[in-house]
C-alpha cells in the first residue's frame, strides 16, 4: 500500500535556520525528504502570499523557520513573521487548512537536531491529516 507522502515547503532564514539545517546535514542526521527548502534572508521576508501559493501549487504543509526572538540578524524580522503567522493561522483555518499544516518555529544555527525533529514531527502530523482534502477550488 502506498503510504501518503506529504509535500512540505520550508522557508528557512539564511542566518539561523538554514544554517541549522546545514548543521543537521553535517552531523549526517537523517530526516524525511518530504521537506523542500526555500532559502530567504529573514523569516520576515515570508509573505503570506508565498504560503498560500505553496498550498495552491500542491503543498500539504508549510513550515517557516526563523531565529529565536532576540537573535534575529535583522533585529526584529522574526517578530514580524510571528505577527503575520498568528493572523494567518486563524485565516487559514477558515479556508479549511488545519493548524498542524502551518508551523512557525525558531531554530538556531547550532540546532541541527531540533531541525530534524521538527521536520519529522511535522511530516508525521501531516501524514495523519492526509492530503489537502479534495482540491483547492481551481480548475485553471
Amino acid at each position: 500500500m502506498n503510504k501518503f507522502e506529504p509535500k512540505i515547503i520550508g522557508f528557512l532564514c539564511n542566518w539561523c535556520s538554514y544554517e541549522g539545517a546545514d548543521t543537521c546535514g553535517r552531523s549526517r542526521k537523517e530526516y524525511p525528504s518530504n521537506i523542500r527548502v526555500v532559502r530567504v534572508m529573514c523569516s520576515g521576508r515570508v509573505d503570506p502570499q508565498f504560503v498560500l501559493e505553496a498550498f495552491h501549487k500542491g503543498a500539504d504543509g508549510v513550515l517557516i523557520l526563523g531565529c529565536h526572538p532576540g537573535d534575529c540578524h535583522y533585529k526584529e524580522g522574526n517578530i514580524n513573521a510571528m505577527k503575520r503567522f498568528a493572523l494567518m493561522k486563524n485565516m487559514l483555518r477558515q479556508f479549511g487548512i488545519e493548524d498542524e499544516r502551518v508551523r512557525l518555529e525558531w531554530v538556531s544555527a547550532s540546532e541541527g537536531e531540533r531541525f530534524a525533529q521538527i521536520v519529522s514531527e511535522m511530516v508525521e502530523k501531516v501524514r495523519i491529516l492526509g492530503p489537502i482534502p479534495g482540491k483547492i477550488r481551481n480548475d485553471n
Binding site: 509535500k7 525528504s33 521576508r45 501549487k57 503543498a59 524580522g77
Partner: protein, 663 residues
C-alpha cells in the same frame, strides 16, 4: 546572445559530485539528464569537484563558449561556496547575481539514505532553481563618497582614547563634552586599582594631549541636538552652551572666583562642599578656564553684580555670550557618554541623605582626593577622622528591586578604599560588608591575596545588601544586617561608604533618541551583538564605548574606545568609496501609495516618508536587505532585490511540480 533576449536566458546547470559525498548517494548522471531537459537549460554538466581549480575553470569556459546567461550550481551549501562561484561568474564576465545555488549535499545527500529518494529530491531542487534563476536580474554594487571626520561624544576615558586613536594620523575629530571640563569620572579619582597608581598622574598627560592635538576640536559645554543622515554621511547639530568666559584669554588665575559673592553646592565634589557661581570645577581641571553657572549668577537675575568681570585682569568675562549652534559633517559617530551611579536615596534603609557621614563611593572618591572638599583628608562632619568605617557592597546592585546586574568594579574599588583608608588612618577599624567577591582580571585576585593581614579590613559576608539598614545612634551610625545564616547582627561606625551600582547616565534615553539607537533592558546603550559586536550598534556608523555600553573598568573602557576608533578607521578609508549592499529593497514609486506601513517597520530607519511626493523612500546605504518591508507592503510596491515575489514564487512552483510522482 544577450541577457535581455529571452526571459529564461541560456541556463547552464553544473552538478558537483563532491568526490564520493554526492556521487555515491544519488544518480548524478540521471540528474544531469533531467536537468538538461528543463526549460531554458542549454547545458548540464557533471563535475567531480566544482570548487577546485579545474571545476571553476570548467564553469568559466562553459559560460564563454556556450554564451550562458544564467547559472545553476548544485553542490554543497551556499553558505559554504556561494562567494566562490560568484567570483567565477564575475571572472567570466557574468554578473554574480545571475546564479542560483542548490544545496544537494548538507540538505540532501547527507540526510537521505535511499538513493532514489535523494535523486528525486535533487531533481526537484534543481528544477526549482532553474525556474528561479531565469528571473534573476543583474545587480550592480554602487559606490559612494563619504565623510572622513568623526564625532566623539563624551570626553571621559573611553572617548578620549577613541579621539586620540583616530587623531593619530591626522583624522579630524570633533570631541563633544557636556561638562566644562574633560576627563570624566577618572579625573575625579585619586588612585586607581589595582596598582594604586595616582589617577591624575596617569591621566593628565593624556588630557594635555587632547587639548594640544591639532586634529581634535574640543567642544566643551556642548551636546548633540540632532543627527540626520547615515554612515559615511552624518550631519550633526551641536549646541554649545555659553561659558560667559572667553577661553582664549582666561588663564584660570581664579581671581573671579575669589570675588564672586554667590556660593552653591559643588556638584563636582558630590555636593560635599561649595563653589561660586563662577568657578573652575576643581584644582587642576582641564581646560583650566572659568565658567559661569547662569542659574545662580546674580548678574543674570537682575544685572546687580559684575564683580567677577571687575576682578578679572584680562577682561575675559563676557556676559553677552550666547553660545552657538554648529553643524558638522562626519562619517561616523562614537558615543562614550559614560555613566551615573545609583542614588541610594531610593533605598531609604541606607539612610543616605538623612544620616551624617554616609557617602556614596563616588563622593568618597572626592573625599580622598587631594583636590576634593577636604583636600584628601578623611574627616567626619565634626572635623575628626573616623575611628571606624563600614564599606557596604552591592548598594543598588544585584537586586531585583533596582539593578539585577553586577557592576563588576565596586569590589576592587572598595578594596582600594580599604587600602587608602588604612594608609591614612592606620588604626581605623574598617569593615567590608559583602555578598560575593567579584574580582575578574589578571591582577585583581592578587590585590586581595597580597594584602598583608595587618592591612586587611574585616570581611563580613552578609545575606544581601537588601538586609542592610543604617540608622543614627548616639551620633554614630548603627548598621544592622543579616549574616549568611539569616541572623540579624549590628555594628556601630563613625562613617559608612556605600558602593553604589554603575547605572546608565540619566540622559541616556535622550541621547539614544537623538542618535536613534536602542537601549538595553538596563538602560545602557545596546550593542549590536552581545558577543561579537560589543562596540557597534544596529545603526550603522554609530559606535558605543566605555560605561555608556555597560559597567566596566578603566582598562576595558580604553579598550572599547580604541576598538570603536579602530572600526571607524577600518571603514572610513581616505580615497576609498563605500560599496553598498546590492540585495536590498527599492520602492516602485509608480505603485507606492504613501500608506506608510513600511516606514515604521525598518529597524535600521532606512525607510522615510516623502511627504511632498507621498511615497516611501528607501535609503540604499542603510537598508540591510531583510525584506520585511517588501512582504508587509500591501501594494507589493517594494521590490526585494534578488528575493522578489516572482522569484520566490517560481521557486515554490518548481519545488512542487511533481504532482504525479511520489515524493
Amino acid at each position: 546572445m544577450k541577457d535581455s533576449e529571452s526571459a529564461e536566458g541560456r541556463i547552464g546547470v553544473f552538478i558537483c559530485e563532491c568526490g564520493p559525498n554526492i556521487r555515491d548517494t544519488m544518480d548524478i548522471p540521471g540528474i544531469r539528464e533531467y536537468a538538461a531537459r528543463l526549460r531554458g537549460v542549454v547545458l548540464a554538466r557533471q563535475v567531480p569537484l566544482l570548487c577546485s581549480g579545474e571545476g571553476q575553470a570548467a564553469i568559466r569556459d562553459d559560460i564563454v563558449q556556450h554564451s550562458l546567461t544564467r547559472i545553476v550550481i548544485a553542490a554543497c551549501s551556499p553558505r559554504e561556496h556561494e562567494h566562490t562561484f560568484k567570483k567565477v561568474l564575475t571572472d567570466a564576465g557574468l554578473n554574480p547575481f545571475l546564479m542560483q545555488f542548490v544545496n544537494i549535499r548538507e540538505q540532501c545527500a547527507w540526510v537521505i539514505r535511499d538513493k532514489s529518494v535523494a535523486t528525486r529530491k535533487a531533481k526537484a531542487l534543481i528544477r526549482a532553481a532553474a525556474g528561479r534563476v531565469a528571473l534573476h536580474e543583474p545587480l550592480e554594487i554602487r559606490r559612494i563618497d563619504y565623510q572622513m571626520d568623526v564625532l566623539v561624544a563624551g570626553a571621559g576615558i573611553a572617548g578620549i582614547y577613541a579621539a586620540l586613536t583616530l587623531a593619530r594620523k591626522g583624522r579630524k575629530v570633533y570631541l563633544i563634552e557636556k561638562s566644562p571640563v574633560i576627563g570624566g569620572k577618572v579625573a575625579q579619582y585619586e588612585k586607581v586599582f589595582p596598582n594604586l597608581e595616582c589617577a591624575s598622574c596617569m591621566l593628565d598627560p593624556v588630557l594635555d594631549n587632547i587639548l594640544h592635538n591639532e586634529s581634535i576640536e574640543l567642544l566643551t559645554l556642548s551636546e548633540v541636538r540632532d543627527v540626520v543622515g547615515y554612515f559615511g554621511n552624518f550631519s550633526v547639530t551641536v549646541s554649545e552652551k555659553a561659558r560667559y568666559v572667553d577661553a582664549a584669554t582666561c588663564i584660570g588665575c581664579g581671581a573671579c572666583v575669589d570675588a564672586c559673592p554667590v556660593s552653591v553646592l559643588n556638584e563636582f565634589n558630590g555636593g560635599l562642599d561649595y563653589r561660586k557661581a563662577i568657578s573652575i570645577p576643581y584644582p587642576g581641571s582641564l581646560p583650566h578656564i572659568a565658567v559661569i553657572d547662569k542659574e545662580n549668577c546674580l548678574h543674570f537675575h537682575d544685572r546687580s553684580c559684575s564683580t567677577c568681570s571687575e576682578a578679572c585682569p584680562f577682561g575675559s568675562v563676557n556676559f553677552e555670550d550666547t553660545g552657538r549652534i554648529r553643524e558638522v559633517k562626519t562619517g561616523a559617530i562614537i558615543l562614550a557618554t559614560g555613566f551615573d551611579v545609583f542614588d541610594p536615596a531610593r533605598a531609604p534603609a541606607f539612610g543616605y541623605g538623612k544620616i551624617s557621614n554616609v557617602y556614596t563611593s563616588l563622593q568618597f572618591e572626592r573625599v580622598v582626593n587631594s583636590t576634593g572638599p577636604t583636600e584628601g583628608k578623611i574627616l567626619m562632619t565634626n572635623g575628626k577622622p573616623p575611628s571606624s568605617i563600614a564599606l557596604v557592597h552591592c548598594v543598588g546592585s544585584r537586586t531585583r528591586e533596582f539593578n539585577e546586574y553586577c557592576s563588576g568594579i565596586c569590589c576592587m574599588n572598595t578594596l582600594k578604599f580599604a587600602r587608602m583608608i588604612r594608609e591614612q588612618i592606620p588604626d581605623c577599624s574598617i569593615t567590608e560588608f559583602f555578598t560575593d567577591f567579584c574580582l575578574p582580571g589578571k591582577a585583581s585576585q592578587e590585590f586581595l591575596n597580597n594584602m598583608p593581614d595587618s592591612l586587611k579590613p574585616e570581611f563580613i559576608r552578609i545575606k544581601s545588601a537588601d538586609t542592610v539598614a543604617l540608622s543614627e545612634e548616639k551620633g554614630a551610625i548603627s548598621l544592622s544586617y543579616e549574616d549568611v545564616n539569616g541572623i540579624i547582627k549590628q555594628g556601630l561606625f563613625d562613617m559608612a561608604v556605600l558602593s553604589v551600582a554603575v547605572e546608565a547616565s540619566r540622559d541616556a534615553r535622550d541621547i539614544a533618541g537623538v542618535f536613534d539607537i536602542p537601549l538595553g533592558r538596563d538602560g545602557f546603550f545596546q550593542e549590536e551583538h552581545v558577543k561579537l559586536s560589543p562596540v557597534s550598534t544596529v545603526k550603522d556608523g554609530v559606535y558605543i564605548a566605555g560605561c555608556a555600553q555597560g559597567p566596566k573598568d578603566i582598562q576595558s573602557s580604553v579598550a572599547q574606545g580604541v576598538a570603536a576608533a579602530g572600526l571607524v578607521l577600518s571603514r572610513l578609508i581616505p580615497g576609498e568609496k563605500m560599496a553598498i549592499e546590492p540585495m536590498i529593497a527599492a520602492v516602485d514609486e509608480t505603485l507606492c501609495s504613501g500608506c506608510r506601513v513600511c516606514a515604521g517597520l525598518c529597524p535600521y530607519k532606512a525607510i522615510t516618508y516623502n511627504e511632498k511626493e507621498n511615497v516611501a523612500v528607501i535609503n540604499d546605504v542603510l537598508c540591510r536587505g531583510c525584506g520585511v518591508c517588501a512582504s508587509a507592503c500591501p501594494a507589493a510596491a517594494i521590490n526585494a532585490r534578488h528575493f522578489t515575489d516572482k522569484q520566490v514564487m517560481a521557486e515554490i512552483a518548481g519545488l512542487l511540480e511533481q504532482v504525479n510522482e511520489q515524493v
